[in-house]
């Protein structure tokens, strides 16, 4: 089965691409990226600040189950073209991961479907690989279940 979300990361390069097709009209997909209340719902973060415009800035905060702040991230929006494109920086505060440049491209596929291409450029190859491995260190999800699923399909 084709996966809806794809990650393309070439070995030895400092960028990666994430693509996803949505069963959503383009306008709704774009809206999910510019309205703080909506971002809070799907990202699971608290939006402290979000100025969805050219030269605007943003800051988000994630807490663990006990209400302790797990991490804060912030960035600046370099360009914002409604229903087309967002170019912004992203930085996790107090981490060694540096600043990443993110280019989001929004495309209409049909009246009811749309596609997002996220191009992320890191400062170095090492930083990109660190970020790729992050879900392990945070234990966000257990790779093993998924992996077993993948391997059992192959077998």
């Amino acid at each position: 089965m084709e996966q809806k979300t794809k990650v393309h990361a070439e070995d030895g390069k400092q960028d990666l691409k994430i693509t996803r097709e949505f069963d959503l009209p383009l306008e709704l997909l774009f809206k999910a990226y510019v309205e703080p209340e909506i971002i809070e719902q799907w990202m699971g973060t608290k939006v402290l600040k979000l100025e969805s415009r050219k030269h605007g800035s943003y800051q988000v905060e994630t807490s663990d189950g006990k209400g302790n702040i797990a991490f804060r991230a912030n960035g600046v929006i370099h360009e914002l073209i409604p229903n087309q494109k967002i170019t912004r920086t992203f930085e996790m505060e107090q981490t060694p991961f540096g600043v990443q440049l993110e280019v989001y491209e929004f495309e209409q596929l049909t009246d009811d479907t749309s596609k997002l291409t996220m191009h992320v450029i890191y400062e170095t190859v090492a930083q990109r690989d660190q970020v790729l491995k992050l879900p392990f260190s945070f234990g966000i999800n257990m790779a093993h279940n998924r992996l077993e699923e993948v391997l059992s399909k192959i077998k």
């Binding site: 979300t5 999910a32 909506i38 790729l132 192959i154």
Partner: protein
């Protein structure tokens, strides 16, 4: 052709993924693998070379024939490395989709 093939590029190709699926259950010769595809034999050979170079396929000499089989260890490495990251985004996007669908019906 690049000598140093990127493993993620290798599995991005649908024919190569199909080859990996084919040899997952049994070792097969290049001829037997090629018989499953409409593409020309040299094209299949090229795919096999790329997969072998990335160590996704392992070769095994059996008499005069060379058999290919899946290198499970390598497959596991790829899945281990990138899959949790992909899954994290997939989960987020699924949530986004569900939330926005509700959003739409509310209007």
């Amino acid at each position: 052709m690049n000598l140093r093939r990127d493993v993620f590029q290798a599995i991005a190709d649908p024919t190569r993924r199909a080859i990996l699926t084919l040899v997952a259950t049994q070792s097969m010769t290049a001829g037997a693998i090629a018989a499953n595809f409409d593409t020309a034999r040299p094209t299949v050979s090229k795919h096999l070379a790329i997969l072998t170079e990335c160590e996704l396929l392992a070769q095994e000499q059996n008499g005069r024939e060379i058999y290919y089989h899946l290198n499970l260890q390598k497959m596991k490495e790829i899945a281990d490395f990138i899959e949790p990251f992909r899954k994290m985004w997939d989960d987020r996007f699924n949530k986004l989709e569900a939330i926005m669908k509700q959003h739409k019906s509310k209007k």
